[in-house]
C-alpha cells in the first residue's frame, strides 16, 4: 500500500468551484437506468430472457403447437400468434422491475443510492426506464422473427403504430405491478416464485396462444375478462390479424379489446402506483 497517496477530502473540498451543482432529477433517473442496462448486458441469463427466449417462443408455437390449434374464421395461426406473444412479453415487464428492486434492496445498493443527494424517486424511475427500454429489445426481435415466419401487420400504418403504443402503455402499467412485487417480496427468489406460480398461468388462461372459445366453463370466463386477452386481441385487431374483435355475442371486453385494455392500464396505474410507492418507501426505511 506504499503507493497510496494521502486522500485528503477536507483539504481538497476547499478547492474553489467544487460545490456540487443542483442536479436535475432526469439525469439521476438516466444514470440509474443506464446502470440497469449495463447489468442486463453483463448477465448472460437475463440477456437470454429477452433475446433467445422470445425467439424460441415464436418458433415453438408457430411450428410445434401451431398446427394443432384452430384459429377462428380459419385464419393463419402464425398471424394469430404474434398478438398473444407480444402481450405475454409485455405482462412480464413487471418481472424485471421486481427482480431488480429486490436484488438492490438485498445487496445494499438502494441504501448507497439513498445516502447520495439524488432526486426523490430517481431509483424507482431509473429501474422503470431501464425496464421499458429492456422490453424494446424482445419486441423488436419477436417482430422480426414473426415477419420471418410469415406474420404481417395488415392494418394501416397508424393502426400498427397504435399497436406498439398500446404495448408501451401496458408495459408502463406493469412497471408499477413490478415495483409493488419488488417492495413486498423479500428476495429475488420470492419474486421468481410468485412470477412462475401466479403470473405465468395468468398469461396462459387467456387468448394468448389459443382462442378463448376453446376453453371450458370458468376458465373461459376468466380468459375473456383477463386483460392479457384483451391486450392480445387489441394488438391483433390493430395489426389486422385474425382473432381481433370478438363477435357481437362475445364478451364486452373482447368486443372492445383496445378500450378495455386502456381501462386496465388506467386502473392498474391508479391502484398500483400509489400503493407501490408507499410500500417501496416502507420497504427501504425502517
Amino acid at each position: 500500500m506504499s503507493a497510496v497517496q494521502s486522500p485528503r477530502p477536507t483539504e481538497i473540498a476547499a478547492a474553489p468551484g467544487d460545490v456540487p451543482r443542483a442536479g436535475s432529477a432526469l439525469s439521476d433517473v438516466w444514470v440509474i437506468a443506464r446502470r440497469g442496462l449495463v447489468h442486463m448486458r453483463r448477465q448472460p441469463e437475463v440477456l437470454a430472457d429477452v433475446t433467445i427466449q422470445p425467439v424460441m417462443f415464436v418458433l415453438l408455437f408457430a411450428y410445434v403447437f401451431g398446427g394443432a390449434i384452430a384459429v377462428p374464421d380459419g385464419g393463419d395461426y402464425k398471424e394469430f400468434l404474434m398478438g398473444g406473444i407480444f402481450a405475454q412479453t409485455i405482462v412480464f415487464t413487471c418481472f424485471g422491475v421486481a427482480m431488480g428492486l429486490a436484488a438492490d434492496r438485498g445487496n445494499g445498493a438502494i441504501d448507497r443510492f439513498r445516502s447520495l443527494p439524488i432526486a426523490r424517486g430517481a431509483v424507482l424511475g431509473g429501474h422503470a426506464l431501464a425496464n421499458v427500454i429492456k422490453t424494446i429489445l424482445p419486441i423488436v426481435l419477436m417482430a422480426l422473427c414473426g415477419l420471418l415466419v410469415g406474420w404481417r401487420p395488415n392494418g394501416s400504418v397508424l393502426d400498427t403504430l397504435g399497436g406498439f403504443g398500446l404495448m408501451f402503455a401496458f408495459s408502463f402499467a406493469m412497471i408499477w405491478v413490478g415495483v409493488l412485487m419488488g417492495s413486498v417480496l423479500s428476495s429475488p427468489e420470492a419474486v421468481q416464485g410468485v412470477t412462475f406460480t401466479v403470473l405465468f398461468p395468468l398469461t396462459f388462461i387467456a387468448s394468448t396462444f389459443v382462442p378463448t372459445q376453446t376453453l371450458p366453463g370458468v376458465l373461459r370466463t376468466i380468459a375473456e375478462w383477463n386483460p392479457t386477452s384483451s391486450l392480445a386481441d387489441g394488438l391483433r385487431s390493430l395489426f389486422g390479424n385474425p382473432g381481433g374483435i370478438a363477435p357481437v355475442d362475445g364478451p364486452w371486453s373482447l368486443q372492445h379489446p383496445v378500450l378495455y385494455t386502456l381501462i386496465w392500464v388506467v386502473g392498474i396505474i391508479a391502484v398500483c402506483a400509489p400503493l407501490a410507492i408507499s410500500r417501496y418507501q416502507r420497504s427501504i426505511t425502517d
Binding site: V4, A13, V31, A109
Partner: protein, 333 residues
C-alpha cells in the same frame, strides 16, 4: 479555534425501536470537526442503527441529530451532499467495473460526466486500483472491494465520513492495508466516524472512543483512559510445567500489582498490568531467579472481551445470555 465551529456530528437522545425491540436506548454523541470518533461495540450493540440514522437512511424514534450543521430528519438532502457512507458489507456494484462504480457515484453527486471521470481516475490512483479499474467489481478481492467502497465515499469530497465496520471480514494483511489508508485520511484532517468490533482498530484510528452495548453508551473517552478503566495491558505467562502455576501466579501478582487469574486447562496465568514492557523484563528476571521454565511470556493489549468483561461483567459476544434472552440483532437490510 476550538469551540468556534459547530461539531461535525451532534446527536442528542437518539432512540430507535423496532416493535418491542430497542436498538438504541438514548445515545448522545458529539464529534468535533476534524476529529475521529470510534464507536466500539459487539454485534447487535446498535452501531449500524446509529450510523443509519446519522446518514439519513433510517429515522430515529425520538431524539435529534445534526450532521455538518444540518438536521438529519428535516434537511436530509443537505446532509447527503456532505457525507460519505461506507456500509458494513461494501456495497459496490459487482456488475460494474471499479471505474464505472466511481463514475456513477460522481454523476449521482452531479459532478457532470467529465469531472466524475477525472475524479474516478484520481481516486483509483490513490487507492491502488488503477490496474483493476476495468475489471468487474464482483471479481475483486475483499480488500479491493473495501478500498473501492471507501473511494466511492470520497468521490464528492465529503465533510463527514461514516465507515461501518470498515475492516470486518478482511484478512490481517488487507486489514493492515486499509488501516494505512484510513491513517492517511485521518492525517488529512477528515471528520470520521467509524464503528468497529476491535479495540485495536479503535485505538489505532480514533482519539475518542465511544463504547456501546445493547443500544446504550457504556463508556467513552480516549484509548488511554479506557484502558485505565480496564486496568491496562494483560500480562500472560505459560510455564512449561503445570506444577509451577501457583509459583508463577505469585510472581505475576507481585510484578503487576494485580490479581492473577490462573487457567489450569490452558496452563496460563494472566493479570492486568499498567507498567508496560518493564513488567516483562522484571517478570522474566523473577522467573529465572526461581528457575521456572517458561513456554511463553508476553504482554497483550486488552481485547474487546476484556473491555466488556470489565465494563459490563459480561463477554462481548452476542450469545444468548444466562436468562436465555437472545441478543438484539441489528436489522438486516
Amino acid at each position: 479555534m476550538p469551540g468556534m465551529t459547530p461539531p461535525a456530528i451532534r446527536a442528542t437522545g437518539l432512540v430507535k425501536r423496532y416493535g418491542e425491540t430497542t436498538a438504541l436506548g438514548g445515545v448522545d454523541l458529539e464529534v468535533p470537526t476534524g476529529s475521529v470518533c470510534g464507536v466500539l461495540g459487539p454485534n447487535g450493540a446498535g452501531k449500524t442503527t446509529a450510523v443509519r440514522i446519522l446518514t439519513t437512511l433510517s429515522s430515529a424514534t425520538s431524539g435529534t441529530a445534526e450532521v455538518a450543521g444540518f438536521d438529519v430528519a428535516t434537511q436530509s438532502t443537505e446532509v447527503r451532499r456532505r457525507i460519505g457512507l461506507a456500509a458494513q458489507d461494501a456495497t459496490v456494484d459487482g456488475l460494474l467495473t471499479g471505474r464505472e462504480n466511481l463514475v456513477m457515484i460522481g454523476e449521482l453527486h452531479h459532478l457532470g460526466r467529465r469531472r466524475a471521470r477525472a475524479r474516478a481516475d484520481e481516486l483509483l490512483g490513490q487507492f491502488t486500483l488503477v490496474d483493476a479499474r476495468d475489471r468487474l467489481a464482483k471479481d475483486y478481492s475483499g480488500g479491493m472491494r473495501r478500498r473501492l467502497d471507501l473511494a466511492a465515499t470520497l468521490v464528492a469530497r465529503p465533510d463527514v465520513l461514516f465507515l461501518d465496520e470498515p475492516t470486518t471480514g478482511l484478512d490481517p494483511r488487507a486489514r493492515n492495508d486499509l488501516w494505512d489508508v484510513l491513517d492517511r485520511l485521518v492525517d488529512g484532517g477528515s471528520t470520521l466516524l467509524l464503528t468497529t468490533q476491535y479495540l485495536e482498530e479503535a485505538d489505532r484510528l480514533a482519539k475518542e472512543i465511544v463504547v456501546i452495548d445493547h443500544g446504550l453508551v457504556i463508556a467513552r473517552g480516549d484509548a488511554r483512559s479506557l484502558k485505565r478503566q480496564i486496568g491496562g495491558d494483560q500480562l500472560e505467562v505459560i510455564p512449561v510445567r503445570r506444577e509451577d502455576l501457583p509459583a508463577v501466579a505469585m510472581l505475576v501478582e507481585r510484578v503487576s500489582g494485580h490479581e492473577a487469574i490462573v487457567d489450569e486447562g490452558a496452563r496460563r496465568v494472566t493479570a492486568h498490568s499498567s507498567s508496560g514492557v518493564g513488567a516483562i523484563a522484571e517478570l522474566a528476571l523473577a522467573l529465572r531467579g526461581e528457575a521456572i521454565e517458561v513456554e511463553d511470556l508476553g504482554l497483550h493489549q486488552p481485547s474487546l472481551d476484556d473491555v466488556f468483561l470489565t465494563l459490563t461483567g459480561k463477554p462481548a459476544e452476542p450469545v444468548a445470555d444466562a436468562a436465555g434472552e437472545p441478543a438484539i440483532e441489528e436489522p438486516a437490510r
